[in-house]
Subunit: 249 residues, 2 copies
């Protein structure tokens, strides 16, 4: 078995000093890597700069990345080099990346400029295209307001089945303080949109230092519930191993 | 001797999942703590969530914080509880914290609203005050552009001499890829503005895995140059210890 695991959380640079991150620590991803290694799998792990690193193992190769653009590059290389029996995409990938950072004076100028060039017109989405994209070493703090405009990142998960239509794909969906029905509905929708075989659905309000509630979901609904990170890792691997063995038989 | 050291980098929340951070790891701050402990000092360390933690020691108390608001609270409490011979403020404190996060539709609405209520007027800084300050669990990613408006945080370093006018204060100034003359001039200015006794001036482009160039600066200019994190920690403590002993004698 050869398995690709992504883990940690991407960080997107605002300038050389500041960045936007998310709270993923990589702890769950490391447990998932360990479960696969215990099943004698060969594991490629894409791991973010700030995440916990999986323990070294002769069957494990680690590929470090920082931001979403790095992830696209590394994942494309790996998916076009190796054939994976399964991809466990546990990494928290930034939905947005900075496209422009403006001081108060720069923003006000960009706003007023619109009206000089589009008299009597409302602002439309085209305004975003008029913004400068300065490359800054370190943004000066000599401004009362700093405005960071972020644009959507590509949906990296959707690359996976494009390159490997027959791999087993497990996606992750994290929401914050929603009813269980909504969580499962959103997870099922993500499963379809991203052509995932399974989605691990979890809610930040049900994650503490010692517990981590997660539901393994497919088109039929909830297949299993886990209550700790170790259980989540175990449930994912135990669900996939028999399917992989059946496909290989 | 009782010493206060701040270390790591603050993180400012955009929502419950995303935050803006800086790249400070806390490695240098941990070395500074260790140098003071080696001098038999009692050390209070304010340490950020994501930073490396100093090794436990019976003379060391650690106060964890996350964002700039936490830092103000904890620092005020400590400065009004204990008298410090020196404060080494090595923490990278965010200059800005999110005050509003707007989807593309929300931003366009807020822009057009200004023109309905201020016909034929340019945008001014007052526009920022009209923005909603929504409390979001997790911002929806169903928007092409997300705009994060940040406002200035209070200058925490300026609290220190307000509470303890006679403590020895060491501030830090990090710039990115500037000439040495400019770095030293900016550090001297920061020293005066913040009533620091010394400023450790450094440039991100001169920081690698094994080297870290730093200049200890006061109103006279460069007092010492260090070329590694360990040397920086050593230079700061060796400069301050005789001054503290002289004051106590």
């Amino acid at each position: 078995m050869r398995i690709l695991v992504t883990l940690g959380g991407t960080s997107e640079r605002i300038d050389q000093v500041r960045e936007i991150t998310n709270q993923s620590t990589g702890t769950l991803g490391c447990l998932i890597v360990a479960e696969w290694l215990a099943q004698q799998a060969t594991v490629d792990a894409i791991v973010t700069t700030h995440a916990k690193k999986p323990a070294p193992h002769e069957q494990l190769s680690v590929y470090p990345i920082h931001d979403t653009a790095d992830l696209v590059t590394t994942m494309t290389t790996l998916l076009t080099t190796h054939t994976y029996d399964a991809v466990i995409h546990s990494m928290a990938v930034s939905d947005f990346t900075p496209s422009a950072s403006l001081s108060q004076a720069q923003l006000l100028e960009a706003l007023n400029q619109w009206h000089y060039t589009h008299p009597n017109e409302d602002f439309t989405a085209q305004w975003f295209d008029t913004l400068p994209h300065p490359v800054e070493n370190k943004l000066s703090s000599a401004t009362d307001h700093l405005t960071v405009i972020l644009k959507k990142t590509p949906k990296v998960i959707q690359l996976i089945k494009q390159y490997q239509p027959t791999t087993l794909l497990v996606g992750f969906k994290l929401l914050v303080q929603v009813e269980q029905d909504e969580l499962i509905a959103v997870a099922k929708k993500a499963q379809q949109t991203n052509q995932a075989d399974f989605v691990l659905a979890n809610d930040l309000s049900q994650i503490t230092a010692s517990t981590h509630v997660g539901y393994l979901v497919n088109e039929q609904g909830i297949l299993a519930q886990a209550n700790t990170k170790a259980e989540i890792a175990h449930v994912i691997v135990c669900t996939l191993v028999p399917i992989i063995k059946r496909k290989k038989a």
